[in-house]
C-alpha cells in the first residue's frame, strides 16, 4: 500500500468536488426533493379533505391570510376559516411532527440496540410513556404545570427503554428474540398497570377520554399544545444529524465502533435520554402510535442506503407524509366515526413486521448462521 500524505491545502480544495457523491448523492437529493414536495401537497390535501371539503387553493388562501398576506380575497365563511385554521391545520401539523419524530426515533433506536426490529412501540417505550402520562392524569399531578404530562411520559419512556435493554442484553449482545419478547412482556405489564389505574380512577369521564387516547390519535390538538412536540422534534433531528457518523459506527458493532473512536456506553446513554424525550413528548401529544418507527426507516433504506446522514432526513419527511395520510384515512374511512390512527398504523405495521422478521430469518439461513 502506498501511504502518501497529502497536504492539508489539497484536502480543503478538493472537498467541494467530492460533495457530489457519485452514486447515492444524486438519488438522495432527488428523494429528498420529491418527499418535500409530497409533504406540502399531502398537508394541503389533508387540510382540504374532511366532512366539509375545502378547495386546496382556498386552504392556502386562508392560511396566507391568517399570517397577514393578502394574496387571496377572503371570500370564505368564518366557519370554514375555523375548520382550516383551528381544527385541521394543527391536527395535520401534529401528524407531520409525530410521523417525522417516530420515524427518526425508530431509525436511531435500530442503530443503538443494533437490531432492525427496534421501534418505540414494539419495545414498550410508548407504553412506558403512556403509563407516565396516565399517572399524571389520574392523580391530577400539576407540579410542573403544563409540562407535567410530557415530563412524566418522558420519564416513563426512559425507564422502560433502560429496562427492556438491560433485560434483552446478555453477553454483550442483544438478540431480536430477547429484545422483542422483553419489549412485549414489559409493555403488557405497563399496559395492565395503566388499565388498573384508569379503572380505579374516580374520574370516569376522563378515563374514557384517556382510553381513546391510548389507542393513538391526533384529534383535539390546538396551537397551544403543538409547540412542544415541534420543539422536541427539532431537537431530536438536530442532535441525531450531528451524531449521524456515530450512529453509523454502531452498525459496525460495539467493539469496532470503539476502535473507531466512539465511547459506546456514554453515547448510547445520551441517545437513550434523547430518544425517550422525543418519544415521551410525542406520546403525551398523540398517544402511542405504533410501527411508524419500524416501517419508515426500512422503506427509506431501500432508497437511500444505510448511512444515517441520508436515512435520518429522508425518514423524517417520509414519516411525516405517512402519518398525515394515515390520519386522513382514520378520519374518513368510517366517517362520521373516527378510527384511532394508531389502529390503522398497526394494521399496516403488523404485516410489515412479519415480513421483516421472515426476511431476516431468510438472510441468516443463507449465511448459515441461523
Amino acid at each position: 500500500m502506498t501511504a502518501t500524505a497529502a497536504s492539508p491545502a489539497t484536502t480543503r480544495q478538493d472537498s467541494k468536488v467530492s460533495d457530489e457523491q457519485p452514486r447515492s448523492g444524486r438519488s438522495f437529493a432527488l428523494t429528498l426533493s420529491v418527499l418535500a414536495v409530497l409533504l406540502v401537497v399531502s398537508a394541503t390535501a389533508a387540510v382540504a379533505i374532511g366532512s366539509v371539503r375545502v378547495p386546496p387553493g382556498q386552504v392556502w388562501g386562508i392560511v396566507t391570510h391568517a399570517v397577514g398576506l393578502d394574496w387571496a380575497d377572503p371570500v370564505w365563511s368564518r366557519a370554514r376559516e375555523t375548520i382550516v385554521l383551528d381544527v385541521r391545520a394543527p391536527r395535520v401539523l401534529l401528524g407531520a411532527v409525530t410521523g417525522a419524530g417516530l420515524a427518526v426515533v425508530g431509525t436511531a433506536m435500530q442503530a443503538l440496540v443494533r437490531n432492525p426490529l427496534a421501534e418505540p412501540y414494539l419495545l414498550g417505550v410508548s407504553s412506558g410513556a403512556s403509563l407516565g402520562a396516565v399517572v399524571v392524569i389520574v392523580f391530577g399531578v400539576t407540579l410542573f404545570g403544563a409540562v407535567s404530562l410530557p415530563l412524566s411520559a418522558f420519564l416513563g419512556a426512559l425507564a422502560t427503554l433502560l429496562l427492556v435493554y438491560a433485560t434483552a442484553r446478555a453477553g454483550g449482545r442483544v438478540t431480536s428474540v430477547r429484545l422483542v419478547l422483553s419489549g412485549v412482556a414489559i409493555a403488557a405489564v405497563l399496559t395492565a398497570l395503566m388499565n388498573v389505574l384508569l379503572l380505579i380512577s374516580e374520574r370516569g369521564n376522563e378515563a374514557r377520554a384517556v382510553l381513546a387516547w391510548t389507542l393513538g390519535g391526533l384529534g383535539g390538538v390546538n396551537w397551544g399544545t403543538l409547540w412542544l412536540p415541534a420543539v422536541a422534534l427539532a431537537l431530536g433531528i438536530g442532535v441525531l444529524l450531528v451524531q449521524a457518523r456515530s450512529l453509523n459506527l454502531l452498525l459496525a458493532g460495539e467493539e469496532a465502533a470503539t476502535t473507531m473512536g466512539l465511547d459506546v456506553a456514554r453515547f448510547r446513554a445520551r441517545m437513550f435520554v434523547l430518544l425517550s424525550l422525543v418519544t415521551g413528548v410525542l406520546v403525551a401529544a398523540a398517544g402511542p402510535i405504533g410501527f411508524v418507527g419500524l416501517i419508515l426507516p426500512h422503506l427509506v433504506r431501500l432508497f437511500v442506503g444505510g448511512d444515517h446522514r441520508r436515512v435520518l432526513p429522508t425518514a423524517a419527511l417520509a414519516g411525516a407524509v405517512f402519518l398525515i395520510w394515515a390520519d386522513v384515512a382514520a378520519r374518513t374511512v368510517a366517517a362520521p366515526m373516527e378510527i384511532p390512527v394508531g389502529v390503522l398504523t398497526a394494521l399496516c405495521g403488523g404485516p410489515f413486521f412479519l415480513w421483516l422478521m421472515r426476511r431476516d430469518a431468510r438472510r441468516k439461513t443463507e449465511e448459515g448462521v441461523a
Binding site: 502506498t2 467530492s18 457518523r245 458493532g253 476502535t259 473507531m260 442506503g305 444505510g306
Partner: protein
C-alpha cells in the same frame, strides 16, 4: 497526516470476565514497525489481550502504553487515530455499501460536522485496492462472503491510517491466496502490527517475533525460530510435531504428527 509506527508496551496486564481470570500478569512489547504475533490454543487469552490493547476490555491491573501514553487514559477518539483494529464482532443487518463501511475508518479524523473530502475518497479507494477489493466498492456489505467481508474490514482499519494495527485472526474465513495477501499487506505496512493467528506456519513466516499464550500466561516469546520447538508444541498444544527450517524461505515450518501415526521410535 502521517503514517508512522507506534511503540506498544503492555506491562503486567491481568484481565478477567466476572470471576473468571482471562490473562494473568502479561507483559509484551512491539517496537515501531515490528510485526508481532500472538499464538496459542483457543481460550488461551489472545483475544482478551488484544481487547485490552484496543480499549474494550479494561485491565484489572497493569498498563497498556502506546508511545508512552496510557491507552486507557486517552480519549477514545484520540486513541482511534493511532490504533486501529480488526475485531471478531458480527455486523448488524443494515444496508451499507462496502465503500461506506471502509469510510467509517475515517471517522476518528473527523470533527462532528465534517463532510467526506476527496482525500477521504482517495484513501478509501486505495485501501480497498490494497486488499484486492476495489471491485466490491459499491456492493452491499451484508451480502458479501465471509472472506470478502474480512478483507473489507482490513481495508477499513487501514483507512484509519493507524500507526498500530491490532488484528484478531484476520485470516479467518480467507482462502489461502487472500490469507497470504492480507498478511503480506500487514508485513509491508509502516505501522506496528500486533496480530493473533491460528496458523503457526503463517505466524512463523510473517511475524518478527511471537508470543505464545497458554491458559492466560505467556509461555514463550521471541523470534519464531527460537519459539517454535517440538517441546513447545507438546507443552502448549498437546500435540507432537516437527519443526524444520523451510529450505527456501528459511522460516521455521511446523508439521504436526497425529499420535496414532507417529512412527515407532521417532518420539
Amino acid at each position: 497526516m502521517t503514517v508512522s509506527s507506534s511503540d506498544l508496551t503492555v506491562d503486567g496486564v491481568t484481565l478477567s470476565a466476572g470471576a473468571r481470570r482471562l490473562v494473568q500478569d502479561i507483559s509484551l512489547t512491539a517496537r515501531p514497525g515490528e510485526v508481532v504475533g500472538l499464538v496459542g490454543p483457543n481460550g488461551s487469552g489472545k483475544s482478551s489481550l488484544l481487547r485490552a490493547v484496543y480499549r474494550v476490555l479494561r485491565p484489572d491491573s497493569g498498563t497498556v502504553r502506546v508511545d508512552g501514553d496510557d491507552a486507557w487514559s486517552l480519549p477514545v477518539r484520540r486513541l482511534a487515530r493511532t490504533v486501529a483494529a480488526v475485531v471478531q464482532d458480527g455486523a448488524a443487518d443494515f444496508d451499507l455499501a462496502v465503500r461506506e463501511v471502509v469510510a467509517m475508518g475515517r471517522t476518528p479524523h473527523k470533527r462532528l460536522l465534517d463532510g467526506d473530502t476527496a482525500e477521504d475518497t482517495r484513501i478509501v479507494e486505495s485501501c480497498l485496492a490494497s486488499v484486492d477489493a476495489a471491485d466490491l466498492a459499491d456492493r452491499p456489505f451484508d451480502r458479501l462472503s465471509g472472506g470478502e467481508r474480512q478483507r473489507v474490514l482490513v481495508a477499513r482499519a487501514l483507512a484509519q491510517r493507524p500507526s498500530l494495527l491490532v488484528l484478531d485472526e484476520p485470516t479467518n474465513h480467507l482462502d489461502i491466496r487472500h490469507q497470504l495477501q492480507v498478511l503480506g499487506i500487514l508485513r509491508a505496512l509502516p505501522a506496528t502490527v500486533l496480530v493473533a493467528l491460528h496458523d503457526l506456519n503463517l505466524a512463523a513466516y510473517y511475524c518478527d517475533r511471537l508470543y505464545v499464550l497458554s491458559e492466560g500466561l505467556v509461555t514463550a516469546s521471541g523470534p519464531p525460530a527460537e519459539v517454535l520447538t517440538p517441546g513447545l508444541l507438546g507443552e502448549v498444544y498437546g500435540v507432537a510435531g516437527e519443526v524444520t527450517p523451510h529450505p527456501r524461505t528459511g522460516a521455521p515450518q511446523v508439521v504436526f504428527l497425529p499420535e496414532e501415526r507417529v512412527p515407532a521410535g521417532s518420539a
